[in-house]
Symmetry: D2
Subunit: 314 residues, 4 copies
C-alpha cells in the first residue's frame, strides 16, 4: 500500500507522520521549530522527513505551513509565525529528498484531512474552522479543496462581523477572529471577572486571583464545573461563531461545518452555543436542510493526514 509523509510546520513544532491511503498515521516524528531562522527551519523539516523515511518507503511529501502559500503550491509567500518570506519550500524538499512534494496552507491541509478521513468524510462540501489564538479555516467544495486565486481563500477569521469594531492585526476592524477566537474567549472571561469580581469569582480563583491570570484552560475548567460566568464567556464566543456560520451558509450552503483548533477541545461547551446561534440566524431555514455543526475528529493530526493525502493526489 502506498505511503506518503505529511508535515505540519508550525511556529513552535515541526510535526510529521507517515500516512497510508486510509489516512492512518503509521509513524510520527517531531522537532522544535527554530522559528527565527528560515534556513534552519527548512533543515529541520528535511531532517524529520529523513528520519521517517529510514523506516518507511514513501512516494511523496505533503507540507502544511501556517502562512500564505502561492497558487502553485510551491512557495511560502509569508508566514508570520515563522518569519518566512518567499521561501521556496517545495523546491528545497524535492531537491533534498528526491521525491515529489506539495506545499499547502496548514488550515487547508487540516480541512482536507477532516474532509477525507475525519468528521466530514461522508459529505461533499464542508468548511473547517480552526479556532485557536485566531480563527482560520479551509473550504472543500464538491469534493475539491478550494484554494482561491492567490491561494488565500478561507480566511474565515477576517470576515467583517462588526462594522468599525475591534481592531485586528490585519489592519481592519471588526474581524470575526477578534470576537470568536481563543483570545476573544479569554478577553471576555477577563472582562467579566474584571468588572464583576463576584460573578467571576471561580475563574479568578483558578487564575490566582487576577484577571490576567485567567487563560483558556481556566475558562474551560470553570465552564465544565458549570460556572455561570465561564459559560457566559463560551456563549458569547459561540454566538459570534454561529453568526459567522450563518453568513458562510448563506454563501456556500455546505453540508457540514467542522469546528477544530485548540478551543474546540472544549467540545460541547463550544459546539452547542455555536450551533444554536447558527440555526437561529440561518437564512431560508424552511427551504433547506441545515448544515451540520460537528466537532473535528482528527485533532492535532488533521494537518499531517491532510497534507499526506494531498501529496498522494498531487
Amino acid at each position: 500500500m502506498s505511503l506518503t509523509i505529511g508535515v505540519d510546520v508550525g511556529g513552535t513544532k515541526v510535526a510529521a507522520g507517515v500516512v497510508d491511503s486510509d489516512g492512518t498515521v503509521l509513524a510520527t516524528a517531531k522537532r522544535d521549530t527554530p522559528a527565527d531562522d528560515q534556513a534552519k527551519t527548512v533543515e529541520v523539516i528535511i531532517e524529520v522527513i529523513a528520519e521517517l523515511r529510514a523506516s518507511h518507503d514513501v512516494e511523496a511529501i505533503g507540507l502544511g505551513a501556517a502562512g500564505f502559500i502561492d497558487a502553485q503550491r510551491s512557495t511560502v509567500v509569508f508566514a508570520p509565525n515563522l518569519a518566512w518570506r518567499d521561501e521556496p519550500l517545495r523546491a528545497s524538499v524535492e531537491r533534498s529528498s528526491g521525491l515529489p512534494a506539495v506545499v499547502e496552507n496548514d488550515a487547508n491541509a487540516a480541512a482536507w484531512g477532516e474532509a477525507q478521513f475525519g468528521a466530514a468524510r461522508k459529505v461533499d462540501s464542508m468548511v473547517l474552522l480552526t479556532i485557536g489564538t485566531g480563527v482560520g479555516g479551509g473550504v472543500v467544495l464538491d469534493g475539491r479543496l478550494y484554494r482561491g486565486h492567490n491561494g488565500m481563500a478561507a480566511e474565515i477569521g477576517h470576515l467583517t462581523v462588526v462594522p468599525g469594531g475591534r481592531r485586528c492585526g490585519c489592519g481592519n476592524r471588526g474581524c470575526l477572529e477578534r470576537y470568536a477566537s481563543g483570545r476573544a474567549l479569554v478577553r471576555e472571561a477577563r472582562d467579566l471577572a474584571d468588572v464583576s469580581p463576584e460573578y467571576g469569582a471561580r475563574m479568578l480563583e483558578l487564575g490566582d486571583g487576577e484577571p490576567e491570570g485567567i487563560t483558556g484552560p481556566e475558562v474551560t475548567q470553570a465552564a465544565r464545573e458549570g460556572d455561570p460566568a465561564a459559560l457566559e464567556a463560551f456563549a458569547v464566543i459561540g454566538a459570534w461563531l454561529g453568526g459567522g456560520l450563518a453568513s458562510l451558509a448563506a454563501l456556500l450552503d455546505p453540508d457540514m461545518f467542522v469546528l477544530g483548533g485548540g478551543v474546540s477541545d472544549a467540545g460541547e461547551l463550544l459546539r452547542r452555543p455555536t450551533e444554536e446561534a447558527f440555526l437561529s440566524g440561518l437564512t431560508g431555514r424552511d427551504y433547506r436542510q441545515a448544515p451540520t455543526v460537528a466537532l473535528a475528529e482528527l485533532g492535532a493530526q488533521a494537518g499531517i493526514v491532510g497534507a499526506a493525502d494531498l501529496a498522494r493526489r498531487r
Copy 2:
C-alpha cells in the same frame, strides 16, 4: 453550429433567446408572466420555447428562475415572486418539447453568463452580485458554477453585516441587502431628503416634492448631475457593498467581482465607491493581487445567455 435556448423566468416577464456556442443571442421572444397562476406560467414558458423553435433548430433548453432550485436542477422548490412551490419545471418542459432541459437559479445563470461570455470571461473564479430590489448573486469557482448542498449557495444578500441591524424579509436582522440594494439606496435618499430638505432639494424636486416620490431613477439622475445628497446615497450603498466584497474576498479570494442588476446601470456612480470601500477593507492587501471590481457586460441578457450555455453543457 449547435444552438440552445435560454429562458429567464421572472416575476413580470418570461424572456427567452436562441443562443449559439459563442454566447451570441440570435433571436428573442418575451411574454408577460401570469405570476399568480403556476400552471399558466408553465404554459407561457412552453409557448416562448415553441415560438423560438419555429425558426431555429435547438438541441437543449436552459431555464433560469428567481427562486430556490433543487440540487438536481429539476424542481423550483420555492419562488416568492411566482407563487411557485415544488414546480417540476424540468419534467414539464422536457415532456412538452422532447428536448433535454436544465433548471437553474436565475442569478446563478447570470453569473455563468458573465463568467463565460461577459465581464469575467478571462478569469477562473468570480462572484456576481445582482443589485436590484434585493441583492443576489452567483459564484463560479475554478471554472465551475458552485451551487451548494441544497442548490442555495450565493445568497449574498443575506450575509449578516450588522449584528441586530435592520429587519430583513428572510426573518433575520442586518442582512447585506437591507443596506446595499436598490431599496436601500432609495431609503437612504428619502431619509436624507426627509431630515434635511435643503440638502436633498434636487432629489425632492425630481420626486415631485415628496420624499416618497424619490425612487431609483431620481437618485441616479441627481447623482449624474453631481448632486451631493444623491452622491452621498450612492456612497453609503457603495460602502456597504464594498464591505461585503471584502468579506467575500477573505473567504473566496476570487479573481473578480462583477456588479450586475438594475442598480449597476448607474455604472461608475456605484462601482467607484464600492471599489474604494472594498480595497480599504480587504484583508492581507500586501500579500495578494486584489480582485478586480467590474461592471456586468451582458445586461438583462446575462440570464438567457447563461441558462442557454448551461443547457449545452448539461
Copy 3:
C-alpha cells in the same frame, strides 16, 4: 385671582389661552400660522392676545415657540418651522400689549405645565419627552426649569444612541429621534410591511395596500387591534426610548419621566414597552427608587398652561 395668557406658537397653529393660577384654562383662541411670513406671524400672535384680553383682565403674557430661544428669554434665535431668525418676540409683544412678556421654548413650556399642573405636579425633578415627528423635551430639576447656558438644554432627541447610526437633520448620526420618534415608528412599520408583506398585511390594508400609505394612525389602529407587526413597531420604538430614559436617569436621577407629544396618544402601547426597556437598562437598580414613567396629562394645552405660568412667575 390673577390671570395670564399663554401662547403656543407652532408651525401650523397659533394657540392661546387665558389661564388662572391653578392652571385652569378659562378661554382659548386659535389662528393659522402664516409660517412663511415672519412679520405676519407676529401680527397673528398680537391679534390672539388682543382677542383674549377683550374678555379677560390679564397681567402678563407667556409665549412658547418651537425654536431656540436666547438665554434672556426674549428673542427667537432660530425656529426651523417658522422660518424665523433673531425675532425679538418679547419686545414686540410687550410694546403692542403694554404687558410684561416672557418667551420660552415650547417643549420647555410644556414641561413646566406638566410639572406644575399635570402628570408631574407632585414631584420635584422631571423630564418631559415630547414624541412627535421628532423628539424634544424639557427638564425641571429641584422645582426649577433648567434652560442651559444658551437656552438650549433638553435637546433630548439629539442624544447619540447609535455611534455612526442613522443620519439626522442636525448633521450628526445616530440621534435618539431617528430611532424613537413618530417618524421612526412609521419607518419601522413601513419596513416591516415592505420586507414581509404577509406579516404586515393588516397595516398594508389600512394603508391602501402600499407601505407608503402607512402613517402613524394606521400603526396605532393596527396595534390597538393586536396586530403583531404594529405591536413590534411600537416595541422597537419603546426599546429605544427606554434606553434613552436609562441614560437620562443615570445622569439626572429624576423622580419622573413624562411621555408627551402626538405619539404618546397611543398611551399604554407606547408607555409599556418604554418602561420595560427603561427598567431593564437602569443602572444601579438595587440602590435607588426608579423614576416613574408616566403619560402626559395636559395634552395639547401643556404649552399654553406652562407658558402662562412662567409669565406669572417671570
Copy 4:
C-alpha cells in the same frame, strides 16, 4: 476668617484638609483606609478630623465618599470600594466632633470644588468628568450642585453609548466607562500591542515585553514620546469621551466640561482628541456657543476643597 474641614474618603486613603473660604488648603492629614472594616474606617475619619482640629478652629465638616449617598446627605447607602452599606456617617461624625457635618458623593464634592475654586470658577453650569478606573462625575447647574432624586445624579460613566456593547460591572452593556475610562485606555493599548506587536513595540518595551505589562503610565509615557500606537489609544478614548460630551451638551447645555481624575493627568493628550470629537458631534453647533472643554485644576484636592465648601454652605 471661617474655616471648615473637607475629608475625601477613598478606598485606599482618607485625606483631609482645613480649607478657608477662598478654597485655600491650610493644612492636610492623610491615613490609609482600613477598607474592609466599616467601623475602623469611621474611626480613622474621626482621627484625621481630630488631628486637624488640634491646630485649627473649624466650624463644620464636609465628607466626600466614593459611593451612593442618600438624599439627606447623611448616610452612605453603598460604597463598593469600602464595603460599606447604610453607614450613618454624618451622625457618627457630628456626635464625635460636636460640629455640623454633611456627606456628599466624592465626585459631586470634586465637581463643587472645581466649580467654586477651580477650572469652572467663572461659569454657572458645568459638568465634571472624573476619568479614572471608571468614569464618574458631578453636575453644577445654575450655580447649584444637582444631586438628583436619590442623590444618584451624574452617573456619567453609565450613559449607554453602544447598544448591546461591552458588559459593565453595573450589569448593563455598552456603558460609557467601558469605552472611555483608564481601564478602557489600557485595554485599547494592550489590544493594539497584542494584535500588532510591531505597531505596539514601544508600549510593549515599556511593559516588559508583555501586553499585560502595559498599564496607564506606559501608555501615557509612550504617547508623550509621540508613539503612534499610544496616541491611537488616547484618540480612541477621546473619541468616545467626546461623543459622550456631545450627548451631555444636548441635554444640559453647560458652559463648561471639566476633565478630572487620574487619566486627565495626561493633559492635552486626552483633552485634545476629546474636544475634537465633541465639537464634531455637537448638535446645533451653528446656534450656540459651544461649551469649553477644560482640564481640572485642583487635582487630587478637588474633593477636599469641595467638601469643605459644601460644609460651609450647609
